[in-house]
Symmetry: C2
Subunit: 159 residues, 2 copies
Amino acid sequence: MNARSLLAVSAPMARALDLARAAAAAGEAPVGAVVAGPDGAIVAEAANAMRARRDPTAHAELLAIRAACEALGAERLTGCDLHVTLEPCPMCAGAIMHARLRRLYYAASDPKGGAVAHGPRLFAQPTCLHRPEIYDGMGGEASAELLRGFFRALREGGR
Amino acid sequence: MNARSLLAVSAPMARALDLARAAAAAGEAPVGAVVAGPDGAIVAEAANAMRARRDPTAHAELLAIRAACEALGAERLTGCDLHVTLEPCPMCAGAIMHARLRRLYYAASDPKGGAVAHGPRLFAQPTCLHRPEIYDGMGGEASAELLRGFFRALREGGR
């Protein structure tokens, strides 16, 4: 990541990238997520933990959403925003819909597993109950490089 | 539910319907889910608990999948089947995909919120990573009647 891309990343997305880096160091696919309140302050954060928790649903987004609901004592995150380092999968896009998040910021695109701009394009479905505002690309190169490095090391038997 | 439909429902689906009934009695939208192992024995079960847990991700399927992974100490439920009283939403269909469940049995269709035969039709997407065998309709009328009764009571201010 060069100085220009550092400057271009918001504080919540920078934190999400830090969480993704920590996930990679722990042997998890590097994805981090942060829920910020209406004022921009961080309400909850999480990183992928599928391996550590032995739980296929322990994606960063799902964990951050659950933690934010617990922190706020609320079933819905109306007015809150999710910042995540990778385009959400169908499961996480569905959770974003159920939580009624205001905005979704995601860094890297995921043509294979993503469900926002790819595959089922969940928020573009006529039956979608709630669509957040969507902003993509911020921090995308840093996130993609983290993911490439992680999967390269996996292929090379480095972990 | 008449005698004929009772006879037509498998033991795991009958249990899922019981869980849905208990959810309704607790003020939750009535959906129940059971994970059965390769031999048909129940591994884990859950009912909707979004209100009780103040958690928009606490759908019966997601809770049952997480409980089954915990019970088996495994990140994947290969060889296991999910029995649920309502067509899964995108979030839960995504979780079924990630958990690599062998078969999905669902009772009632959900044209508004479902993501299997409706809306994004997740398992029919070219990018879908894993497709379970899918069986629908068993117990459908009993489940639909439970849901109709619950939402009728809600509209009438009965709870």
